[in-house]
């Protein structure tokens, strides 16, 4: 049963992150996702300190605030201070993350978070964190419910906002010309990434959030040329990653989050080599054994 809850947690994080990550990598903002997932840390710590609890709501508010602050700081350094974009991202997230670590050390007694957990979470403890109703009934692990709720929100965002996300990602200039606000969709996506990061943080840590945001969508991107398929494939890959990662971790006796990141990488490697359209080995095989004369482009 524990295995089930852990895999389910991983799968929920994978699905939420993958759906958002698809749009992040198509917008060439993968590293902004990475930055946000690190930078929400001080928000979490401050929410801890102010609310003196692990309640979800203060956390979400803290995280969303920090997520928006991160994008804002990056934009500020880039546009107002005219610093190059890579350095703007790098400075912003390392600074915020370092502040988070210092806060944790400062309030070590009051904050139930340790440094390592920030990076790779404690997914193994998920089954122990039960939600007990007032009548004393156990409803299963609390994180699963929270992650499930967030996933529903993200599904809603992707389904209802599909066209808005698609057009502002594909051709922002055209979207603006038609009168669609690119700024609105940008911040909507960034807020969603922050919220997902923070609820996933406790159980899987920063590293797996980044891996799930970037790697399955990147793998799917190599396998298909349709956006809807890419989203579905990302979800499928996320599930596979969660399952295989869990068993890898059991086998090596190591961190589940680390193992899931590794298996996601294995799927990416397979796609790079064997993708039907763009795989390195597939193409080499095809050029050696051409089936027939392929029709030319025009």
């Amino acid at each position: 049963m524990n295995a089930f809850w852990i895999i389910l947690t991983g799968a929920l994080v994978a699905t939420s992150c993958g759906l958002l990550g698809t749009f992040l990598i198509l917008r060439k903002m993968a590293m902004v996702g990475d930055a946000i997932s690190h930078a929400v840390l001080p928000g979490i710590v401050i929410a801890y300190l102010l609310s003196e609890s692990r309640d979800v709501l203060p956390m979400l508010i803290g995280a969303a605030a920090l997520g928006v602050l991160t994008t804002f700081m990056i934009e500020f350094l880039y546009q107002k201070a005219r610093l190059q974009i890579d350095a703007s991202i790098g400075i912003t997230f390392t600074w915020l993350f370092a502040m988070g670590i210092i806060l944790i050390s400062l309030y070590a007694g009051q904050v139930d978070l340790d440094q390592d957990c920030v990076l790779y979470g404690e997914i193994a403890y998920v089954p122990l964190d039960l939600w007990i109703t007032e009548s004393g009934r156990s409803m299963g692990p609390r994180p699963v419910w929270i992650l499930g709720g967030v996933l529903l929100l993200i599904l809603l965002l992707i389904i209802v906002g599909y066209r808005g996300l698609k057009i502002t990602t594909f051709n922002p200039e055209y979207a603006a010309a038609v009168g669609i606000s690119t700024v609105f969709w940008h911040y909507l996506l960034m807020s969603a990434v922050s919220v997902t990061t923070v609820v996933a943080f406790e159980s899987v840590g920063a590293i797996l959030v980044v891996a799930f945001l970037i790697v399955p969508p990147a793998t799917a991107y190599l396998l298909t040329e349709k956006l809807q398929q890419m989203l579905l494939l990302t979800v499928g890959l996320g599930l596979l990653t969660a399952v295989s990662g869990y068993y890898l971790a059991v086998w090596i006796d190591g961190s589940v989050a680390g193992a899931m990141a590794v298996t996601s990488g294995v799927f990416l490697l397979l796609a790079v080599l064997f993708s039907p359209s763009t795989g390195v080995l597939t193409q080499r095989f095809r050029s050696r054994y051409p089936l027939r004369v392929t029709e030319t482009g025009k």
Partner: protein, 435 residues
């Protein structure tokens, strides 16, 4: 505080010296990383080093710094190759390739690290300090090895300084003059990987990007010269290393690495704000200066306009008359009049009445002259209609420098009338040209 800065404790001396050296060498190498716009690649290399460190521990069973360094450099190089391959040979964009390598390699590192911890080999304690740095816990041996490497790195950067400068700035040109660009890039990448692998000792994997990039980014705001930039970056690395060590010396529960990074970030923020020319404060001052200039010159112009209409240039003028000449905002008019009086361009003749001083008259002529010259330039050289040029001239008259004025006068051959047939006021009216 005094305890620390006397450096009487040999252990403090050693650890502090080591931290400073690591910070400085990372900052110097990082200047090139910054100039080549590869900040995030540096971040990825730092993360990717972790599995290398763990593997070399698994293989050798020892934490000897040389072994760990070898593992780190190998892993760093592999990650670099994978990133290059993904971004150049697949349709993945560069940032996606960086993010994928970063998270997968780091995940592998975490997996190995936790696996080693669970196998509870007695020897492993301290490996996890790679995550956030272990400046204060460095052994004597660590410090000698890493400091040695840092010194070698500094030497290499010095020796190849001009080549590195060129390949960071313009690799195509470097190639065209016959520099072995590929080999130099290989060398620079290796130096970067080494700097990252050693710098991690101080601040850890996650924050390493800051040690590499932030000093250079801060230095960039102060100078346009790469030599100065490298020195400044090194100085910033030194300062933050020193004070980071001091903080964790006085408050042992405070982690050194994160403090170093926060200090570096503060230096960067201060640079962003106060640096001359590039800083935000300097730009705001420039803009305030522009606004002041516009405010004053517009008032001078109004004086000139009233004088021109009345044909009596230095007659006293009331504030009311100025308002009728031009729709000033109340506050701007008040402030501008006060500024002009203080600069000696105006005399105040009782309440609400002013007159131009001789300098003021000269200034007012200059502004009107520039306005009319620009209008003439627009109609003559750009063929714009005379009724369309006033608004632009209203702005550009404040921008034109004496050099541009001279060029305008030459180009338009010291004209007498503007497009609206108003006389262009000269200080010494030109002799009518001999036509």
């Amino acid at each position: 505080m005094s305890d620390f800065f006397t450096f009487s404790d040999p252990n403090v001396r050693l650890v502090t010296a080591g931290t400073i050296l690591l910070g400085m060498s990372a900052a110097i190498v990082g200047t090139f990383t910054f100039l080549r716009k590869r900040a995030l690649v540096g971040d990825a290399i730092a993360h990717a080093i972790l599995p290398g460190v763990c593997l070399s521990f698994i293989i050798t069973g020892e934490k000897h710094p040389v072994y760990l360094l070898v593992g780190a450099v190998l892993a760093g190089w592999v990650s670099l190759l994978v990133m290059d391959y993904l971004s150049s040979r697949t349709k993945l964009s560069t940032d996606t390739a960086i993010g994928a390598v970063l998270s997968v390699f780091f995940g592998a590192g975490i997996l190995l690290l936790t696996s080693i911890q669970h196998s509870s080999s007695a020897n492993q304690a301290g490996l996890d300090q790679f995550l956030f740095g272990k400046a204060a816990a460095m052994t004597r041996q660590d410090i000698w090895v890493f400091s040695g490497v840092a010194v070698v790195l500094l030497g290499l950067v010095l020796a190849f300084f001009r080549s590195f400068k060129l390949i960071s700035f313009d690799p195509a040109f470097a190639k065209s003059i016959g520099l072995p660009v590929r080999r130099l890039e290989f060398l620079l990448s290796t130096i970067t990987v080494l700097a990252v692998a050693t710098g991690i000792q101080a601040v850890g994997v996650v924050l390493m990007a800051a040690l590499l990039i932030t000093p250079a980014a801060a230095a960039r705001f102060w100078t346009d010269r790469i030599q100065v930039m490298v020195l400044l970056a090194a100085a910033f690395g030194l300062l933050s290393g020193l004070f980071g060590s001091w903080i964790s010396y006085t408050a042992p529960s405070m982690p050194t690495g994160p403090w170093i990074v926060v200090l570096l970030s503060l230096i960067a923020v201060v640079s962003v704000v106060v640096a001359p020319q590039r800083g935000i404060w300097a730009r705001l001052r420039l803009q305030r200066g522009n606004a002041r200039k516009i405010r004053q010159e517009n008032i001078l112009k109004a004086f000139y306009g009233i004088g021109e209409a009345a044909d009596a240039p230095v007659a006293t003028v009331t504030v009311e008359a100025l308002r009728q000449q031009r729709p000033f905002e109340d506050r701007a008019l008040e402030l501008g009049l006060w500024e002009l009086a203080r600069k000696g361009l105006l005399h105040r003749h009782g309440a609400g009445t002013y007159a131009l001083t001789p300098t003021g008259l000269r200034e007012s002529r200059r502004v009107v002259r520039l306005h009319r010259l620009w209008e003439l330039y627009l109609t003559e050289r750009m063929n714009y209609a005379a009724d369309h040029v006033h608004n632009t001239a209203e702005a550009i008259e404040h921008v034109i420098t004496p050099e541009v004025e001279a060029a305008l006068l030459k180009e338009l051959d010291h004209p007498i009338l503007d497009p609206h047939d108003a006389v262009i006021p000269y200080q010494n009216p030109p002799k009518p040209s001999a036509s």
